[in-house]
């Protein structure tokens, strides 16, 4: 396992106080949200510590000067210190105003050793801070800058905090240095240096973790570091492992981390901006060629791509396209044309979304790449069946570009007791269009079931050919002219005789029911309690009518 990089940390204690330019020998407290966040040494002697309420702090030290925290000013005042350090080495990384770190390897060799480097940094930073405080006190007070050098930023920061004014932990001795430290340093926000624990949520979690560790009897970092990594991972997860690595004097993140995926996106600026689709398509074609070349040289091919276009007025449109097999340059160019054709003509999503300016920029960003496997075509061109499939997939993609993704739908199996639920329509962009299966058995099998489970209460075949998207309210009357009702036990008050649809009445020739359904009674919004009937009327139509909370409605028609 690699050892953490030798790091130098410069730490200016009580930086919020120093940044305000207050003399350190006066009792000063900096408060934020009514809590003390920093105090001068003089104030600390009176018992003013971090986290006190303003009133309590003032009670403990009567002559305390209270100042509001000014984060901008802290960062601004730290700039000159960084400027001074830039002369020593480039690449100084600011952890927070008041704390910065850099890798010592280069500068230490140049300046003749780590001790010399620490001296130099102390002198340079001290000079600047003395200048800051010059108006307040006659000489630069000792201990305004501290420097620590150790393996890794965490150990270096702890070294800086325990330094007076500089402390160098020998290479490879960080674990011994860290071992006696109290476990609580892991959770303290101002100490965490890595991205994992220093973020807002990380600090809260970190303190939670240290509390647990302390309660488990692990008082020091050494005790924690002695645990097995596998045990820590099993008990505390990734966060625990990060903390464990810190405690062992390693970098917070394992060096075998995942490499970020390379950015393969290509962009092209169109100047002058194009307001006609053919010009954009021309640019897109060369852009697609460029992307294709690039991907091919990497040995990958793209199966999903995001196409983004931006106008001169800053309007942008992004759409993600998926394609079975590799997206060739021509295919990508087609998709750019379809997408922008719909956008420029205002057909996708209504006229109000039409861009007001010409298109100035086109970006192609591959979102999913696979290893290029090549493609073997049939001898007689491409196979006849797959060619029709491809043609249909192409027209689906094209219509999506023109009309919007929600306009082109394909059925998927949903399951349920109602005809509307059994097969649902979803945008074709959401599914793999070719080579899928819609039957209940295949859908359930792909979901992990080993057989087809029935839907008790669903009506058997034949299914109605017309399912109304919104049920049509009707009246169902018996021979006396009063509405037919169904009791809670599922008993019909009297046989239905007349069905009144939109004022027209048809005589009921045959009927069956009720078939009650009481679904999801625990859910107010989706609950459904109804009694269903099949009605055959004298106009030859068979209908499925449902009674729900006293209201009859036609749900489906066997047309």
């Amino acid at each position: 396992m690699t050892v953490a990089v030798r790091t130098l940390v410069v730490w200016c204690p009580d930086w919020p106080v120093v940044a305000l330019g207050c003399p350190l020998d006066e009792p000063v407290a900096v408060v934020f949200a009514n809590r003390v966040v920093a105090a001068s040494p003089a104030a600390r002697e009176c018992g003013v510590v971090r986290g006190l309420r303003r009133r309590v702090a003032q009670a403990r030290c009567v002559e305390l000067k209270v100042r509001e925290r000014d984060l901008d000013r802290e960062a601004r005042t730290f700039e000159p210190v960084l400027g001074a350090l830039d002369d020593v080495t480039p690449g100084v990384e600011v952890t927070r105003p008041g704390t910065c770190a850099f890798v010592t390897r280069g500068p230490a060799r140049y300046f003749g050793g780590e001790a010399a480097l620490a001296e130099l940094v102390l002198a340079r930073a001290g000079e600047v801070i003395a200048g800051l405080l010059a108006g307040c006190s006659e000489d630069a007070p000792a201990g305004v800058v501290r420097v620590g050098i150790a393996d890794g930023p965490f150990a270096a920061l702890l070294a800086a905090r325990s330094a007076d004014p500089a402390r160098i932990v020998d290479p490879g001795h960080s674990p011994e240095f860290l071992a006696p430290m109290p476990i609580s340093v892991l959770g303290r926000r101002e100490l965490s240096v890595g991205p994992g624990l220093s973020s807002g949520s990380g600090s809260a979690d970190g303190s939670g973790l240290t509390e647990v560790l302390a309660r488990l009897g692990l008082g020091t970092l050494g005790a924690f570091a002695a645990l097995k990594t596998a045990d820590v991972l099993a008990r505390f997860g990734n966060e625990g492992v990060s903390a464990h690595r810190l405690a062992r004097g390693l970098d917070e993140h394992s060096p075998q981390g995942r490499l970020p995926p390379p950015d393969w996106s290509v962009a092209s600026d169109i100047d002058p901006p194009a307001d006609r689709i053919d010009r954009v398509a021309f640019c897109a074609r060369s852009l697609a060629d460029e992307l294709h070349q690039r991907l091919r040289s990497e040995g990958v091919e793209c199966v999903r791509i995001a196409i983004e276009a931006e106008t001169t007025h800053g309007e942008s449109m992004v759409r993600v396209w998926r394609h079975v097999g590799a997206l060739s340059a021509a295919v990508i160019a087609d998709r750019v044309r379809w997408q922008l054709d719909g956008w420029l003509s205002g057909r996708a999503g209504g006229l109000k979304d039409r861009p007001t300016g010409g298109i100035a920029r086109v970006v192609l960003a591959p979102q999913e790449v696979v290893a290029a496997g090549g493609c073997q075509l049939d001898f007689w061109g491409s196979g006849s069946a797959s060619e029709t499939d491809r043609r249909a997939a192409r027209v689906a993609a094209r219509l999506q570009g023109q009309l919007g993704a929600e306009a082109v739908l394909v059925p998927v199996y949903g399951g349920g007791r109602h005809h509307k639920e059994q097969l649902r329509l979803v945008p074709s962009a959401e599914v793999e269009l070719l080579g899928r299966s819609v039957t209940a058995a295949d859908t359930q099998r792909s979901a992990g079931a080993d057989g087809v489970a029935p839907w008790p209460g669903a009506l058997p075949a034949p299914s109605p050919a017309r399912v109304l998207s919104s049920p049509r309210v009707v009246e169902l009357l018996d021979a006396d002219g009063s509405a037919v009702a169904v009791s809670g036990r599922g008993r019909v008050s009297s046989p239905p005789h007349l069905l009144v649809v939109d004022g027209r009445s048809c005589e009921v020739v045959a009927w069956a029911g009720p078939w009650p359904v009481d679904e999801r009674w625990w859910d107010d919004e989706r609950s459904c309690r109804q009694a269903r009937f099949q009605l055959l009327t004298d106009d030859g139509l068979a209908r499925l009518v449902a009674l729900e909370s006293g209201q009859w409605s036609v749900v489906a028609i066997w047309d």
């Binding site: 075949a461 809670g488 068979a542």
Partner: protein, 299 residues
């Protein structure tokens, strides 16, 4: 032991047939042109007698009307769909997808396009015509004659079939720009009693009339849908070559015999069909006299 001679002879004969079939396949592929009657789409057996040659002529427009027009359109589209063609449906969100699946349409090869803006309908249909074999348009969608002419030209060029799902109200069997008009002239449901039973099947009388070879009216009776949802031929198809007057509804009082046995031997003491995976069609309504504690409010 083995009749090797015979086996060899059979194998040779088989391989010759096989070779001949493959040669025929290659010959078809390299044939310079396809005759019009060869450019067809297959139909389901139940409806094949409705059309000249037993199949749908590519590049034609079919209008389906009458009670049951939707089911009939689905059945017409099911033949090509089962043979591997794609089907598209424009402007008809109310179509029952379960019924489409039962009629035999392969749902994995079905596209449903519902444009928000109705003015784009013609463009959508035109785009689909080149790419899918069967395009169905919903009853709410009608084209102007000029658009229809343009679509017809595109249909002839690309070889797709356009099916207009009509409504039950339209009485004319064939409008302008339509090659074949299909109309359900009579329908009779069976299986539903008064207070009992379940819709089982519908016997329909369908007649077609069109242009050219289809000018002579044809009429066929079959079950649409049959007991399993799919169309079913009657045992003796009443295929008549004599012209039938399509405007007179055919009186169909012959009891339809569905040869699926109705399995109701035990009196079922329940007049509600709840969570019952066996469909019991009970001819006698039986009262449920068992007192049950039930405080449920009325539905």
């Amino acid at each position: 032991m083995f009749d090797t001679e015979l086996m060899a002879a059979t194998a040779t004969a088989e391989s010759q047939i096989d070779r001949r079939a493959r040669l025929q396949l290659v010959a078809d592929r390299v044939a310079p042109l396809a005759l019009a009657h060869q450019r067809t789409l297959p139909l389901l057996p139940a409806v094949s007698e409705l059309f000249v040659g037993g199949s749908l002529q590519r590049g034609t427009t079919v209008a389906v009307n009458g009670v049951g027009a939707t089911s009939l359109s689905l059945v017409l589209a099911a033949g090509p769909s089962q043979a591997g063609s794609w089907t598209a449906l424009v402007g008809d969100e109310g179509l029952g997808l379960a019924a489409a699946a039962e009629a035999g349409i392969a749902l994995e090869r079905l596209l449903v396009v519902s444009p928000v803006d109705p003015s784009t309908n013609v463009g959508v249909v035109a785009a689909l015509i080149g790419a899918v074999d069967v395009v169905m348009v919903g009853p709410g969608l009608r084209f102007r004659p000029a658009d229809l002419r343009r679509l017809s030209a595109r249909l002839r060029e690309s070889g797709s079939v356009l099916i207009q799902i009509g409504s039950s109200q339209i009485s004319s069997s064939r409008g302008p720009g339509v090659d074949v008009g299909v109309r359900v002239v009579a329908s009779q449901w069976s299986g539903l009693g008064s207070g009992h039973g379940l819709l089982r099947s519908r016997r329909v009388e369908v007649c077609t009339q069109g242009r050219g070879a289809a000018a002579r009216p044809r009429a066929v009776s079959f079950l649409l849908p049959g007991p399993d949802g799919a169309p079913m031929r009657l045992d003796s198809p009443t295929h008549s070559d004599v012209p039938v007057d399509c405007d007179v509804p055919v009186d169909c009082d012959v009891p339809v015999d569905c040869d699926v046995p109705v399995s109701c031997d035990v009196p079922v003491s329940c007049d509600v069909l709840v969570s019952c995976d066996v469909l019991v069609s009970c001819d006698v309504p039986v009262d449920c006299d068992v007192p049950v504690d039930c405080d449920a409010p009325a539905v």
